[in-house]
Amino acid sequence: MGAGALLLVGCGPPDEPEVDAANVWGEQLRVSQAALAAYPSISLRSAAAKRVRQLESQAGATGTAPTATRSLQTALEAERVALQAHVAAVGELEDRASRELLATLIAGTAEAVSALRAEMDEPPIVDAFPGQRNRP
């Protein structure tokens, strides 16, 4: 199995700082907006826009739309960053509503990563634990 998956279990710092949920949601919105801005005009873009709208409606989430070079490659890189951010947020936000929204975002973003890879004629799945930091 991936060593990274094992490392996720039981190795956290003893004293974790208090989480500012608004900051966490702001980061989720920022990375999802960055991904949306990187999409070329393809059908996958509408799903990315829906994820941004879901985050915009989340209480406390704020942000401004970024600009980016639009290409499949930059969209893929941005969605990978977004997926990692959503997985990390699961570790920060424990309440049911947050976890439910994050689960929806994670499933959608992971699908987008595979769909973008497929559009680029790359293997759509490269890892058993997508969204871990420092992994594909």
Binding site: A103, I106, F129
Partner: protein, 159 residues
């Protein structure tokens, strides 16, 4: 072919056999045991059908085993051992059993259905996992199942 046509043509009967609840227990250990059983069952089911679509089902089986191993690590972290694994299709949950015993023409359709179940199972489980690192591991496994669902839908031309 759209999803409805696929189901009507090949796996309509499966619609009446929704997966047995995997998450009967609401405590963290019970949730993890349910997830472990689902992953081990899925690995067996893919193994039964791997000859039909080796390029798709081979990685799916390997990933299910990797997911089960990660969940076994989480079980140990909450003080639980790893139970005896399922061994034959008769030991599996309904969704995995359906895939394991599929006719060749129905394998992809049932792979879609079982991965839809797995995505739902992890979406349901995620709010019930208080340990942040265990929850993050489950989140990456949810992502993995969402990706397998995408490729199976794509291969089956389900819209």
């Amino acid at each position: 072919m759209n999803r409805r046509q696929l189901l009507v043509g090949g796996a309509a009967a499966a619609l009446t056999l929704r997966a047995a609840p995997a998450l009967a227990d609401s405590d963290e250990g019970g949730l993890l045991l349910g997830l472990w059983r689902r992953e081990k069952g899925l690995a067996i089911a893919y193994g039964q059908q791997v000859h039909a679509q080796p390029e798709l089902l081979g990685p799916a089986r390997r990933h299910a085993n990797e997911h089960a191993a990660a969940i076994a690590t989480a079980l140990a972290a909450v003080g639980l051992g790893t139970p005896k694994p399922p061994w034959t299709p008769n030991d599996l949950d309904v969704a995995a059993q359906r895939l394991a015993t599929s006719r060749p023409a129905d394998v992809l359709a049932n792979a879609v259905l079982v991965e839809e179940d797995m995505v739902d199972v992890y979406k349901t489980a995620l709010p019930g996992l208080p340990d942040s690192k265990i929850a993050m591991t489950a989140a990456t496994i949810l992502a993995s199942h969402a990706q397998h669902l995408f490729i199976f839908r794509d291969a089956a031309q389900v819209t």
